[in-house]
Symmetry: C2
Subunit: 350 residues, 2 copies
């Protein structure tokens, strides 16, 4: 958490006249320029943004991955991150899951009239740090303001582009019987961290979101020539829904070993208390890599050498069964089907 | 306006169980898939979307323009368009203004719980038609749902990419004394069309938004080898703010002739009544092309051959004066400075 004094010290002078966002900050005129010049451009500075054009022009060659996500998380700040870190890492991770090197991001802000200027400033500082950590540049953007009561403080959309630097076809349809499912770490922390703040719960050991960038571990696998068949981050719907989707699209049965799915004790406890299944809780820094069996052990060691994947496990396998089902072998030895999340377990966690 | 019966006839069966958006439509599970399969994928169908991946992979080579805008227009439907046509054309036009051929769009939806399913369906149909007209494909997207009272029906973000197929440096800094300012048509219609609906005003002849795609006229100029120095569409802040920005960045004075700025009689009347200056009212299908003097007449004729630019005029000139000011020679012969819009004339017009 940035101490309040930081903003008071660092807030550029002209913004002090407007402690909160007003409608005119979205009007395309002088006040919007003040926001751009004093908050956005200094944080995201790069030659492309400096062009002050309707868009940025960058060089790309070959296969380009293109993705987008809007972020509506509530509350805006939570242990381990905020809407700004989410907006960067979520889109960075979607690019990484396409086998792409995340390079350029756009950022579209929908601000609610009355949003404290300090909140916006703090979120933008988080985006700056997260972008630096993930080695991406925010090259184009947009600001809109909606009337008080017509939004919820701050929504952010980011879109991202990045070159695909592999010849592999990384997709559920490349999944084959015998492939091994690697899980990059423990599950359930992001959703529960958000839920805990929202419900005012406190735990002995605080639960922090796993929100973080996944491009580096993916790159390590690609650079080592691992035969990756599918990559997918475990966001809305969690591990179970993701696996159900992949199994369904691939047409093959994929079986997961519950004993190989790490869940932090505090997360387990919170899930029991709240009636959630950690297999369905959203994560923001976890992914599945489905790889050729002969590369599985090497891939696992490569993943574990990256801090964000230190707890990676060999979590399951693709079976020679054309059911398209995802199944879980439980700790009791029984097997159950992992269905897609049908309702909404935890709304607005990203 | 799509008649109500169209939706009743064409609405796919599973959606009839949910006449309005519920939180679970944004949960990443079964209900979200139902929306995708029954509304989004059929409308935006293309091989990239079919990959059902975290992002789309497309081929790009060379200089790529990248842009984004969020759309929060109120009301969602207005004479001449709706939030869907805006979301496509706005981003298409930003790409065109970079000298790029608009190719691929992303679409991020923030839906408010309780939004009628028919509203979403109608907007998506508009996006489909607008994308077809502008020859772009929607290749990746995202759906989020926020609680009732925390949004305003529907916000859309689109980002876009497209190859820059010219060696020209199209930018305010390429503007030179002697250059001619071409204006692609009459101004003020979009903003006044929105305002009229919002305020329940009716005019003898209804005012329709000028919302439309500008890629074709730009392409015509480029294909003919016109020496374009700067392109800019006249959205928030209108003609005056846009010109003030270009003049400020270029460092040269740019003078506009008020007699050469077409304004529809109905728009003039509405502006007088409401106290607006048409020079500052937003447009969604109008742009400025600043071109080398020797190409000006040819460029003007090329523009006029495109229906959306039929009323194009030679509206002004860049002067040999290092003031960075935009000025207007009024119909009375006096000259006034066109300053950037300082407040917010018409909120939420895009």
């Amino acid at each position: 958490m940035t101490p309040v004094t930081d903003f008071a010290l660092q807030c550029p002078l002209p913004l002090r006249d407007y402690p909160v966002i007003v409608m005119a900050h979205g009007g395309g005129g002088r006040l919007m320029h003040q926001l751009l010049e004093n908050i956005f451009w200094p944080a995201f500075q790069n030659p492309m943004l400096g062009q002050q054009h309707d868009g940025a022009v960058v060089r790309m060659n070959g296969r380009v991955a293109f993705t987008t996500d809007s972020y509506v998380v509530r509350p805006l700040f939570f242990p381990g991150g905020d809407i700004g870190t989410l907006a960067i890492n979520g889109t960075v991770n979607d690019l990484a899951m396409c086998g792409a090197r995340p390079q350029y991001l756009s950022a579209g802000f929908i601000l609610e009239e009355g949003l404290p200027m300090e909140t916006l400033w703090r979120v933008v500082q988080s985006m700056k740090s997260a972008a630096a950590a993930a080695q991406v540049q925010i090259v184009t953007g947009d600001i809109k303001v909606v009337d008080k009561g017509m939004g919820d403080g701050l929504f952010i959309n980011t879109a991202g582009i990045g070159c695909v630097e592999t010849e592999l076809a990384i997709s559920p349809s490349s999944v084959r019987p015998g492939d091994v499912v690697l899980l990059s770490g423990d599950v359930g922390r992001h959703g529960i961290a958000i839920m805990a703040v929202r419900e005012g719960l406190s735990f002995e050991s605080p639960i922090e979101s796993d929100c973080g960038p996944l491009a580096a571990p993916v790159r390590k696998l690609l650079d080592a020539g691992i035969e990756i068949h599918c990559l997918r981050d475990l966001t809305r719907g969690g591990l179970a829904t993701t696996l159900a989707e992949i199994a369904g699209t691939s047409g093959w049965r994929i079986n997961l070993e519950e004993t190989a799915v790490p869940v932090e004790e505090a997360v387990k406890g919170a899930c029991e208390m709240l009636g959630f299944d950690p297999m369905y809780v959203a994560n923001e820094g976890r992914f599945l890599a489905i790889v050729a069996a002969r590369d599985a052990e090497r891939a696992l060691q490569l993943l574990r050498s990256e801090p964000i994947c230190a707890q990676a496990t060999r979590a399951g396998q693709v079976l020679e069964e054309k059911s398209g089902l995802a199944t879980l072998k439980t700790i009791f030895g029984s097997t159950r089907i992992l269905d897609m999340l049908s309702g909404e377990q935890l709304p607005r966690i990203c």
